[in-house]
């Protein structure tokens, strides 16, 4: 009798836990039942019309966070087979990645974003949302191969350069530098944007704490180039051979361009002259006297 009552209690407990679990947790495949549908529309909220709610299942499954939607979207309010009526909240990435969030918050990106600037980048701007991959993964937007173009999404944008006063030609000058070329051709130890500017604690060069502040450049460059002293850092880092930016280099390049072009014209002219003179002399020789 006692055993039977224990069994009933146990069964009831299990059942009740089961129903609580149904209401509170939901598996990723439950979510993807709806969200893998390319044409599915969400609910319109106020003046905001319904948007597609598609999440690429392959992208999600191959991401590093592929096990649990609820880890980032806690507090789901519907049943697994039901439409939820509100957007599930997005948990802060910092709940797991505290130091990264802290650094980002102190960076120029984070400060602007936290002040409500919607154009300022947050975690997903650089890392992606549902397809977050390890930095070492060649497909990650923040992998060395891809980071320059990821940063350039904003830093090569004319509108952003004008609005925020950020310098232009960052990608072009990086790609034509030793660092850029080395990375382009597969040398993964060469510097990318984050090697000098940091990954999360990115500060403008005018900030004395910035890794690219003039005073800190010797130690920043010195991370890879032991002995790179103050003298080394006196020059421009992102060099573009324009008159305004690097006049010395601009004129040396111009000199070679014109000199080489001049030489080519001279030599071709000489070749034509020599051959026409030779042909004339031959004709004269062959003429009957």
């Amino acid at each position: 009798m006692r055993t039977l009552s224990l069994k009933i209690v146990a069964a009831a407990t299990l059942l009740s836990f089961g129903s609580i679990a149904d209401a509170q947790t939901i598996s990723s495949s439950d979510c993807l039942n709806c969200h893998s549908d390319r044409n599915r529309l969400g609910t319109s909220i106020g003046a905001v019309s319904a948007r597609r709610v598609y999440i690429d299942p392959d992208e999600y499954r191959s991401s590093i966070h592929n096990s649990d939607c609820a880890a980032c979207h806690p507090g789901y309010d519907g049943a697994p087979d039901n439409q939820h009526q509100s957007r599930p909240p997005v948990a802060s990435c910092g709940s797991c990645h505290q130091s990264e969030e802290h650094d980002w918050g102190a960076s120029i990106h984070g400060r602007d974003a936290l002040q409500g600037d919607l154009k300022a980048p947050n975690c997903t701007t650089c890392h992606g949302a549902h397809g977050v991959r390890r930095v070492s993964d060649p497909l990650s937007p923040v992998n060395r191969r891809n980071l320059p173009t990821t940063c350039a999404n904003c830093h090569d944008d004319e509108e952003i350069a004008t609005e925020y006063g950020t310098p232009r030609n960052r990608l072009e000058t990086y790609e034509s530098s030793y660092h850029g070329l080395a990375v382009k051709f597969g040398r993964m130890t060469a510097a990318d944007c984050a090697s000098c500017h940091n990954s999360h604690l990115i500060l403008p060069p005018s900030d004395p704490r910035s890794s690219v502040n003039k005073a800190n450049l010797p130690s920043t460059c010195g991370k890879c180039h032991p002995g790179a002293g103050e003298q080394f850092a006196t020059g421009k880092i992102h060099v573009s051979a324009t008159k305004e930016s690097s006049p010395g280099m601009f004129y040396v390049r111009k000199f070679y361009t014109y000199f080489i072009a001049g030489l080519m014209i001279l030599f071709v002219g000489y070749i034509i002259l020599e051959h026409s003179g030779y042909a004339r002399a031959r004709r004269k020789k062959e003429e009957p006297k």
């Binding site: 006196t234 051979a241 690097s246 030489l263 030599f267 020599e274």
Partner: protein
């Protein structure tokens, strides 16, 4: 007379020809691997990079050819300083009085159809200019190349703008030298009137008596004073 003008006479020593050969291999190797780097983002550059087994091996080949060129230069220097023939050949490459005048007259003659002999010595002014351009250009290439080769040590010793400038000079000077070598030196060896397919004296070390008379009259007189 024809037989006599076809008679071949010694012009370049074996050592001189081997120096030229190692210089040639080094310079062309450097040019092909250097142009691959300079024009990496063009079809031509990609073709060269593939040909050289990728970007990494391109760099290794460039350095190997650089060492070869360096050895050729050192060898040349030793021959010029320590051997009689090397020294004499070098001295014959010095500009001399009358070179300018002969050059002006030779240029003028190219506009006319009258036969003209500028009476050059062992080397024409054009050959002297080719030698000195390549010699001084090579020294500039080697010195800038060594700075770039030093990598971190150069970065530690020089300001970055100077390292950047060295890179620009190395690239610009390299292309300039190539233009010089291809459009003047190779042209005059292979495509100058009467030379096609090739003036073989850089391999055989010999020149015909007739050619010597036509192009280096004073050298001819020096070698065959009895013919006058």
């Amino acid at each position: 007379m024809t037989n006599e003008s076809n008679q071949l006479i010694h012009r370049f020593a074996v050592s001189w020809r081997l120096q030229h050969l190692s210089l040639m291999i080094g310079v062309f190797g450097l040019a092909l691997t250097g142009l691959a780097y300079r024009y990496y983002d063009t079809g031509f550059g990609r073709f060269l990079i593939n040909l050289e087994g990728g970007f990494g091996s391109r760099g290794i080949l460039h350095r190997i050819c650089g060492v070869m060129l360096g050895l050729a230069v050192v060898w040349h220097g030793f021959r010029v300083i320590f051997t009689r023939t090397g020294h004499d050949d070098f001295m014959a490459l010095m500009p001399e009085k009358g070179d300018g005048k002969r050059w002006r007259l030779a240029l003028k003659a190219k506009f006319s159809s009258e036969p003209f002999n500028a009476e050059w010595g062992r080397y024409t002014l054009g050959q002297k200019v080719q030698y000195w351009t390549v010699a001084l250009g090579t020294l500039l290439m080697i010195s800038t190349g060594l700075i770039l080769l030093m990598g971190d040590r150069a970065v530690a010793a020089l300001p970055k703008w100077m390292v950047d400038m060295v890179r620009v000079v190395h690239g610009g000077q390299g292309v300039e030298l190539m233009v010089f070598i291809v459009l003047w030196h190779l042209y005059s060896t292979h495509f100058s009137p009467g030379r096609f397919p090739m003036d073989a004296s850089w391999i055989t070390g010999k020149i015909s008596k007739g050619q010597l008379k036509d192009y280096h009259m004073r050298e001819y007189r020096r070698l065959f004073p009895e013919d006058d």
